[in-house]
Amino acid sequence: MPKKVQSINDSPLVNMPSSSYIPQRDLYKTPALETHHLGVDFGGLRAVDDFNLTIGATEIAGLIGPNGAGKTTVFNLLTKVYEPTTGTILIKGIDTHNKNTVQLNKLGVARTFQNIPLFDNLTVEENVKLGMHNSTGYDMMTGILRLPKYWKQEKAAHDRALELLSIFDLQDKADWKAGSLPYGAQRRLEIVRALATDPCLLLLDEPAAGMNPSETSELMENIVKIRDTFQIAILLIEHDMNLVMGICEGICVLNFGKIIAKGTPDEIQATPAVIEAYLGRKKED
């Protein structure tokens, strides 16, 4: 049985009219994410179809499924790296139609990637400062002329960057080139960079990939800590079932681009369709 990470936010799930679950505490808050009939075609192939999901304002949700189920494609749709063919995406109740990746980030969607695309030639601190792009408001002229606003905002950004880095114990490595960090630290830095954009919905694409069990359990605690501190929603793709079952409140299972099950970790583990998707159908004889 996977270990549960305790949180001050623990509350039961309630069923929503859209056949989604959200935590009870989020019932009277605008959900961080709502999708309706989301779908995308790649040259005739339906990669994601009729994807409906609601994520509460402070929920930690999991998106799981076998390889090639379309999980990362969902992330790419939610961040508008791909333009959806059908359906709507609401972030904090705001329709994202005609908005691009940059505008979605400004609305509060931040994400990490499987291949950890850090700005390798910049320092750790600079990577985090770049995450603060939306709140660092001075323009090019202010920067070139070194006006007082430059000094003030640079100082504020520096302090905030170190504060965020300290969540993941990276503050000592602030001057390192991001590309020279070890693998696990790069993953953590990417999460910090995404957090620095001040999101309301954080999308984590396989955050525990390549981590050993002790690193993973530390990561689990950190994810819960992030949610508790910043009161944001987190949606994560993960193959490590201990992590998913340990921290996710609601889980959504995807197979061949379609949702095959939604529910609490206990419900998901008991759903035959999920077991079948992962292990294959039992041969009838």
Partner: protein, 294 residues
Amino acid sequence: MISFLSHLISGINLGSVYAIIALGYSMVYGIAKMLNFAHGDVIMVGAYISFCASQYWGLPPVVGVVASVAVCTLLGITIEGLAYKPLRQAGSLAVLITAIGMSYFLQNAAQLIFGPNPVQFTSVVNFGSISLLGGQLKIRSETIVTIISGVIIMVALTWFTGKTRIGRAMRAVSEDKGAAQLMGINVNRTISTTFAIGSALAAIAGVLLCSNYNTLMPTTGSMPGIKAFTAAVFGGIGSIPGAMLGGILLGLIETFGKAYISSQLGDAIVFAVLIIVLLFKPTGLLGKQVREKV
């Protein structure tokens, strides 16, 4: 009407020359992913060999053409082996600068040998001209040979890359070097072969170009080289029909632009059309759109 037809024919003629150069450019780009700026100067070398063959050695034109193709093929392989091969793993800028260095080298070497002044180039084809429409429209034999060569080369190359073993290896290497190597394809030899073919085409283009315009100097190749590269991009770089289409369209645009809009702005019109096309079709007319992996 007659003048329109004659512009049309000379446009296709110029376009065919561009297309032959562009085919070489495009193949090399497709496989080595580099802008081979020395390609234009290989054209010039090819023309000089043919020039020497008839002027100094008194060989018949056909032998001159064969000699120039042979020399340029060797030159292409040598350039690739000496200058580009050590830089297989290097950044694209380093390769670009090396190619530019190679272009300077060829131009200045030619200038040392033949001097900076233009020489009179005798056409290699001389069976008069065809008169059409009661003598109002004359088509020179050079034009006919150029256009026919262009078509033959395109058909041959399409067959070669589609149906032969080496051709398939070339396409594999241009898609993915690593995977091709794992499939047992000799990547280095394939790239060498591509340079050889590209340079042989450049030699033919050089002879045809100079047969049409009858002058030759060390910088003869650079402008047609740039234009041919533009043509390759215009048609969609890496694509054989694209290079052919781009070359012919470019020749037509240049000829008509010079004739009907402004004789001085011919080049500006060509380049302006290129920019406009790329804005609407960022990968050229027949280029493939590639989806970015995330």
